[in-house]
Structure formats: C-alpha cells, structure tokens
C-alpha cells in the first residue's frame, strides 16, 4: 500500500516546527511503528535525517510510544497503543497526519519526541508506599474483596503514556494522576497514606502547569488502556475529604 505521510518535523524545543510530506510503501501486516522504520531506512539511505519517535516494548505495555495520528493520540483504534496499531487500519492511498503529543507540560524535544518527565515528578511527589509491605506471600495473605482488587487493577493498568494529556483540550493530567492515586489508595498497603498522597500529587500536577479538568471526557475516549473517568471523580472525592481531614 502506498501512503502519503505528513509528519511534524522540529529540530529542537526552541525551533519552529512544520509538517513535511513523505511517500512510503507499506504492508498491511506492519505495525504503525514498523511502517515508520521503513520510512526512516529510506531517509537514511537518501542521507536525510530520520524522523525521531519514541518506542520501546512494542507490545503495548510500556507506555513509551505516543504519536497523534490524524488528530487522535495512538491513532484510530479503540484501546490500542501506537505500536499495536496495524497498517490494515488504513487504506492504500491514504494521507496520514503524524504529530507529537501537544501540551505545555510536554515540551517537544525533537520531531515526534516529547519530554514527559512531568509525569515522573508527579509519581515522585506521592505515587509510592513508604512502609515495607513484605514479600509476595505477605501481600497474598491480606484478604482483599474481589471488587476492590479488580478496581485497583483497572487503575493500575495505566501505562503513563500521556495520551490523556494529549487528548484533553485543557492539557489536563487528571486521568493519569487519578489512576495512580486510586491504584494505590484502594489497597490496604496504600490506603494509609491516601489523604496526604492525594494532596501531594495534585499539588505537583498543578505545579507542572497541566490544565484544569472540565470533564470533557476526551481522555477516557483516547486512553489506550481505557482508564475510566470514575478515577477522576474518586480522586476529587478523596481530595475534598483530605481537605477536611485532621490527619497529617
């Protein structure tokens, strides 16, 4: 299949970027990233600079690949990361726009690569459990209701890719932050620090310059792990609760 790619090229953070057009011959069995690999090999053999993009596991579990494909983070497939998107989702002769995640708190490093360390700093601010929780058998010895365990697991499937921020018209990181808060706060080991965790992580999120949540719901629609905005409501509830708490 012959494709026309309009790819965002930007030398570095301070330079002005623009779309550039490329022709590529792809196979429908290729993943989207493999198609970009083909393009890059082509560019290298032409002695041109290859397109910079991020990728790691290519199994949809690491959260490294990003890309906004035709206006949608991780492309047109529901609940799928860019690496798991295959070229059979496109037709011969298609024109595809590929651009980086866009948000003030995710500055562009080069081409399609953005700096997502703001997420790391949110985790560092409170996304941990400070007590020793023992070995695996200690965890298994604590009875946890099935429903609660399932909810915590659903929240824990967040891979921290940042698609929620990219999809949000406000550039808000509420879905990511709330998934992390809920993942820890629902389980007995994490419950102890829940109140202070909510306060710290929300404060860091605001400090990083992410926008405010106005409940548009685009994050939930574009999340490759289909994290629900139930998490955001639950975090809001926890935040209000922590404001009236006398605990440290």
């Amino acid at each position: 299949m012959k494709l026309t790619l309009k790819i965002w090229r930007q030398k570095n953070q301070s330079s002005k970027g623009a779309f550039e057009s490329y022709q590529v011959e792809a196979d429908e069995h290729m993943s989207f990233l493999e198609m970009l690999d083909v393009l890059n090999e082509q560019l290298i053999s032409e002695k041109k600079s290859p397109v910079a993009f991020e990728h790691d596991c290519r199994e949809g579990i690491c959260g490294t690949c990003n890309l906004v494909i035709d206006g949608r983070p991780h492309g047109p497939s529901q609940g799928t990361t860019t690496c798991q998107l295959h070229m059979r989702s496109f037709k011969d002769g298609d024109t595809i726009h590929i651009e980086p995640f866009r948000a003030r708190s995710f500055p562009i490093i080069k081409d399609l690569v953005v700096d997502r360390t703001a997420f790391d700093r949110i985790i560092q601010s409170g996304g941990y459990v400070s007590v020793n929780t023992g070995q695996a058998q200690d965890g298994n010895a604590i009875p946890i209701e099935g429903n609660t365990a399932a909810k915590a697991f659903d929240s824990a499937t967040c891979i921290g890719c940042g698609a929620c921020v990219a999809a949000c018209p406000n550039g808000s990181a509420m879905l990511f932050t709330s998934a992390k808060v809920q993942h820890l706060g629902l389980l007995p080991q994490g419950k102890v620090e829940h109140k202070s965790r909510v306060q710290k992580m929300v404060a860091q999120m605001d400090k990083e310059g992410f926008g405010f949540c106005s409940n548009v719901g685009a994050c939930e629609a574009e999340c490759p792990k289909e994290i629900s905005i139930d998490n955001i409501a639950a975090m809001n509830r926890g935040f209000v609760g922590s404001m009236f708490s006398t605990e440290e």
């Binding site: 309009k6 779309f19 906004v68 494909i69 035709d70 206006g71 949608r72 595809i96 726009h97 651009e99 866009r102 948000a103 003030r104 708190s105 999809a167 949000c168 018209p169 406000n170 550039g171 808000s172 310059g209 992410f210 926008g211 405010f212 949540c213 106005s214 409940n215 548009v216 719901g217 685009a218 629609a221 574009e222 905005i229 139930d230 955001i232 409501a233 639950a234 975090m235 809001n236 509830r237 926890g238 935040f239 209000v240």
Partner: protein
C-alpha cells in the same frame, strides 16, 4: 465552579416558576404582586445579593480557568476534531454568551424597575393597600420588539448547551459519581437543560404572538 454552578441551577428553577405566572391570563395581576414581593422582601433581597456574588464568582473563576487551560495547551491537531462534546469544549464561550445575555436582561428589567421608575407605570389591585409597579406591561412591551425576542432566544440556546454539559459536570467535579446514580443524574441534567430554557423561551414567544 461546581458549587456556584449548582446554586445558579437552583436559581434558574425558582426564576422560571415565578415567571410562568406571566402566563396566568389575569392581565398580570399574579405576576405583578409576585414581582413586588420579590423586590421588597428583605430575605429575597439578601439572597439576591448572594446570587449576584455567585454569578460574578462563577464567571470570573470560569474565565480564569479557560485562560489557564488555553495556556496549558500549545496548539490544535491537524487532522480530526478530537473526542468530547462540542459544548464541553466551549463552556467559556457559552458562558460568556449567557453573561452577555444577562446584562441585556438586567438592563431591560432589573435596572428599569429599580432605578428608572418613570419607565414603568403603577397599578393598583383590590386587596392591596398601595400601588405597585406594572412590570407585566413592561414585559409585554419589551417582547413586542422582535430584536429582543431573537436576542433572548440566542441567550437561551447558549444556556441550554451550557447546562447540557454543566449539570452533570458539577457532580463529576464534586466526586459524586456512582454506577447507579450517575445515569439518573445525566438524565435529569439533560431534561433540565432542555426544559428550563424551553420554559423561558415560551415567555417571549407567547408575548410576541399575543
């Protein structure tokens, strides 16, 4: 945003119920007595001061949020429109339209009733010991002008879309989300967003065509 919004939602309901007396078919007696009561009752006067404060708070907070959110986003994407309803992404625009409408509306009635008594005639009814302002006739006169009717309808359409997102969004912000109750909240929100502006829209249309 959510708390002030929910307060303003309850105000809309009270305001509509009061105004529906315009349709009572008694040459405005019920409505005029009601507006006299609203203008002079000390409790209502106290609440209305709170209402002005909440309207301002809601507007200022909303505009500040929209400004900060605009800064948090660098630019739009080239392909595609993105997920999420149109109303949810344009709350600031819709809110500004509603605010502009409110200035026109308060200029039409509130200002004239309070500070421009010459523009409103007095009327007396049996059983009342003093003359009261004939607000009903003022409303009738205003809505004979098609420009006002159209301006009001535009304001109300903006209000409908603003409520369509705002009602359920307020509950989500407060963390009131539940498998069982959220569908009910969404349904009531949708019904509210359609019925309340529709109820208000009947008034100028009724006045214009009668």
């Amino acid at each position: 945003m959510s708390l002030t919004g929910l307060f303003l939602i309850t105000f809309l309901l009270v305001h509509l119920i009061g105004n529906l007396q315009l349709l009572a078919g008694d040459e405005g007696q019920a409505f005029n007595i009601y507006s006299d009561f609203m203008a002079n009752n000390p409790l209502i006067q106290g609440i209305s001061k709170g209402l002005y404060l909440f309207i301002l708070l809601h507007a200022i907070q909303g505009l500040m949020m929209a400004w900060k959110n605009k800064k948090a986003k660098t630019s739009k994407y080239a392909g595609g429109r993105g997920s999420g309803s149109w109303a949810s992404k344009n709350m600031a625009l819709l809110g500004t339209l509603v605010l502009a409408f409110m200035f026109i509306h308060m200029g039409d009635f509130w200002y004239k009733i309070k500070f421009d008594s010459n523009s409103i005639n007095a009327v007396s009814y049996a059983g009342l010991d003093h003359e009261i302002k004939d607000v009903y006739s003022k409303v009738m006169e205003t809505f004979k002008n098609p420009i006002f009717v159209v301006a009001y309808l535009i304001g109300l359409i903006a209000l409908a879309f603003h409520l369509g997102h705002g009602f359920q969004s307020a509950f989500q912000t407060l963390g009131l989300r539940h498998k069982k109750y959220t569908p009910a909240i969404n349904f009531v929100g949708l019904a509210f967003a359609i019925l309340i502006p529709l109820g208000f829209a009947i008034l100028p249309l009724y006045m214009f065509f009668n």
